[in-house]
């Protein structure tokens, strides 16, 4: 039997998202080839904030929810190799509200997660770098800006 807390909460999240979500964002459960829906894996797209290096990009993000959701946060991933100081090489986003020992609370919604990650794009947390690209951010800003812009282009909205 399927269902339970995680699935029930995700159904609520889905309902809330359909009712109201930030402009330009996409978030929906994965649909398999046979037409079935995987409610515990959501494919999302984040628009880059206007007026930033990220403007014009639609950045793909996946949320993977466990059976322990919402007690535990989902795993939030960009594509592997995503260029950002707080994104690990495999794509995992390092953000305090996604850390069960720090800021995660079961009441945090999918919308709040996505808005939080969008905010992180242009405001990396330098206290908690996840990879080497933070050095560019600190010491070689032109290089950092250039790489981000290239990446934004690659993920440009249609």
């Amino acid at each position: 039997m399927s269902g339970g807390m995680a699935a029930a909460r995700l159904a609520e999240e889905r309902k809330a998202w359909r009712k109201d979500h930030p402009f330009g964002y996409v978030a929906k459960p994965e649909v398999e080839a046979d037409g079935s829906t995987n409610i515990v894996k959501w494919h999302c797209k984040l628009p880059g904030k206007a007026g930033t290096l990220w403007e014009g990009g639609m950045f793909p993000l996946t949320l993977e929810f466990s059976h322990d959701y919402p007690t535990k946060p989902p795993r939030v991933k960009f594509p592997a190799g995503f260029y950002h100081p707080n994104v690990f090489p495999q794509g995992d986003v390092c953000l305090s509200i996604l850390n069960p020992q720090k800021g995660w609370r079961p009441s945090i919604t999918v919308k709040q997660i996505l808005v939080g990650v969008q905010g992180l794009l242009d405001e990396p947390n330098i206290e908690d770098p996840a990879n080497e690209c933070y050095r560019d951010f600190k010491r070689n800003r032109p290089q950092y800006d250039k790489t981000v812009k290239l990446q934004t282009k690659r993920y440009a909205a249609d």
Partner: protein
């Protein structure tokens, strides 16, 4: 211990107590336990024991010795040697056999007159469906994992069978009672989950031994010997990820093949290269991210040459086998190195030696496992490697090191089981089961077995009421009878959801099938949903909506939520049931049609089910009453129309 003691100890209660304040269904506990009625009931009822392991063995014994005669038991596992110290129904000759079958045989020998059925199987299997659970007077859990507990909780709610739930961890134990609508369900309160650690802490800033152990077990081990893609240390971007090369080379500092053995590279050389990479190169890389270390102690790289074996051999017993060139056939690096005490904490040299040797042994002796090896707490070489690798990392980060025994416990999430705890808990389970059978619901309790100083004690509290916010048990349930091979999704939506339940924009989900209507859908989603409408329920994606499926129903436009438990009837006759379905359950009585109710009894469905399902539920009635007037009218209107004969 014997059933006489359990059932008739204590003095007989005065008659006044028997009747005073007790209506038919509530008999004051513990007096009820001494009555003849309960004694008879214990012998007549049928109980299901889920799990025949640590708690299960004790429970089955206590059940039969307390007079229970009709028992069924389910367990998937087979008996292992490590079970024998506490799962006392099993003997060495049973190793490898089904726990459920052997346990059933063993208690049958204690009481040959009992009727016990054993199933070797997973409770998730479809044969253990709602109808299976309905056959029992109560369900007694002796499980070891959360997923199965949640599953049983939901089945018991759907089948309306009371559940006694239990768990033990070392000296701690707990027993709780779950009766739909009366006490909280297993999922009303969030459960403490096994601790997980954020990737950032594990990769960059560990500060506890467990962080190093998890790193070694879940990141390093799969990277070296298992499926590297599964490791969070794996740094290769997926093929075809087309981010520009500059970014890739800067972000991904490593050559992805760095963790693979080079052509012709000796296992010893590979082990040393890994050591230098993990404990020198990578540590220095981290150290160079100076922002990480503003308020933390920066990690120190290890120098392999300073940790070479010559420093370690002072004890004089460095075996010759360590010399390069000796074929690695041994299964333990510690054995070769003479580190036989699992409780001692190795120094850095010893850790380095174990790391190098264990990596080499794995490559040489177990090459067939490479690429698919998985960490197993009973795999000595794997535990040795994880212990050494975690300790070396701990040294880098200034964290205390652990013995092999401690590391094994942490890596395997081992809490050593205590037979007495299991015995006490199973006794408490049977006490609560008897309260249920005595219909003494008000006296049902949640019990905690605790350790306080040197004392162990049982503390108890009344079973809490259901949580109104619980997403599992606060949802109204109804039974929907139909022919799942004939009825299409379109018909379900139109006739049942919109026609009968007056939904406006229904959302449905059932396992991995979902269907949505209303605002906020994209074109492709609308198209996908439309396609689904044509399918018969049984052919919907994700296994179909079939017999015993639980269909979750919501409405995008209204406040409505319900679970429909599907009963499939192949012989459902369209002429007799022109609507094509029967809906019965805890929905407002106005919705139930007597004529259809009569019809359902004809189709061999046990009528009591329907009666008990419709019995009462103030919550749903209140919810319906609170709906907007217009919606109420819609419901009534539809009810009226559905009463009109169709031609």
């Amino acid at each position: 211990m014997g059933r006489d003691k359990t059932l008739s100890s204590g003095t007989a209660p005065p008659d006044t107590l028997h009747t005073a304040g007790s209506s038919q269904d509530v008999l004051a506990w513990p007096w009820a336990a001494t009555g003849e009625e309960l004694k008879q009931r214990v012998q007549d009822v049928k109980v299901l024991a889920v799990g025949a392991g640590g708690i299960g063995c004790e429970l089955l014994k206590t059940l039969v010795m307390s007079g229970f005669k009709h028992i069924e038991v389910v367990d998937l596992d087979t008996i292992e040697t490590s079970n024998l110290n506490r799962q006392f129904l099993f003997r060495k000759r049973h190793v490898g056999k089904s726990k459920a079958l052997v346990a059933a045989e063993a208690v049958k020998q204690m009481r040959p007159d009992i009727d016990i059925t054993a199933y070797q199987g997973n409770v998730n299997e479809s044969r253990f469906d709602v109808d299976f659970f309905r056959r029992f007077d109560c369900v007694l859990n002796g499980l070891d994992n959360l997923e199965a507990r949640r599953h049983i909780n939901r089945l018991c709610l759907a089948a309306e069978v009371p559940l006694v739930e239990s768990g033990t961890a070392g000296y701690l134990g707990q027993v709780s009672v779950h009766i739909k609508g009366r006490t909280e369900c297993f999922e009303c309160q969030p459960k403490p989950t096994s601790k997980t650690f954020p990737v950032c802490t594990l990769r960059n800033t560990p500060d506890k031994p467990i962080h190093c152990v998890v790193w070694a077990k879940e990141m390093l081990f799969p990277l070296l010997f298992g499926a590297p893609e599964a490791s969070d240390l794996h740094e290769a971007p997926p093929a075809g990820s087309g981010i520009d090369a500059a970014a890739v080379t800067r972000n991904i500092a490593d050559d992805p093949s760095c963790y693979q053995r080079a052509e012709g590279e000796s296992s010893t050389h590979f082990a040393e290269r890994m050591f230098r990479h993990l404990y020198c190169t990578k540590i220095n890389e981290l150290r160079n991210m100076e922002d990480l270390w503003r308020s933390r102690r920066p990690p120190q790289a290890l120098d392999l040459d300073a940790l070479r074996m010559p420093a370690y051999g002072d004890g004089g017993d460095q075996p010759a086998a360590i010399e390069a060139g000796v074929p690695a056939t041994a299964s333990s690096a510690c054995k070769e190195l003479g580190l036989s005490d699992a409780h001692s904490v190795w120094n850095d040299q010893q850790n380095a030696a174990v790391f190098l040797r264990a990596v080499a042994l794995f490559l040489d002796g177990r090459s067939h496992e490479l690429g698919s090896a998985q960490f197993d707490k009973d795999d000595l070489l794997a535990v040795e490697l994880v212990t050494a690798a975690a300790n070396l990392r701990a040294t880098c980060f200034g964290i205390s090191r652990q013995s092999l025994f401690e590391t094994k416990g942490m890596a395997g999430n081992i809490i050593h089981a205590i037979a007495t705890t299991n015995a006490i808990v199973s006794g408490l389970i049977v006490v609560e089961a008897m309260k249920l059978l005595a219909r003494s619901f008000a006296s049902c309790q949640t019990s905690f077995l605790q350790v306080s100083g040197s004392k162990r004690l049982v503390s108890r509290m009344s079973a809490p009421e259901p949580s109104a916010a619980c997403m599992v048990c606060s949802t109204a349930q109804a039974r929907l009878v139909l022919n799942a091979n004939k009825m299409s999704l379109q018909q379900l939506v139109d006739k049942v959801l919109k026609g009968r339940l007056a939904l406006i924009a229904p959302s449905l989900w059932c396992g991995t099938f979902s269907y949505e209507e209303g605002e906020g859908l994209e074109e492709d989603e609308i198209t996908r949903n439309r396609k689904l409408l044509l399918l018969p329920l049984a052919q919907l994606p994700g296994g179909g909506v079939v017999h015993n499926s639980i269909l979750h129903v919501d409405d995008q436009e209204q406040c409505f939520k319900a679970q429909l438990i599907i009963t499939h009837r192949e012989d459902w006759d369209d002429e007799q049931h022109p609507e094509g379905f029967y809906l019965g359950g805890d929905l407002p009585p106005a919705l139930t049609e007597p004529s259809v109710e009569a019809a359902i009894s004809e189709t061999a469905s046990p009528n009591e089910d329907v009666v008990s399902l419709t019995s009462d539920d103030d919550g749903v009635a209140a919810e319906a009453a609170a709906r907007p007037v217009a919606k109420r009218k819609a419901i009534e209107g539809n009810t009226d129309s559905s009463k009109r004969p169709r031609t």
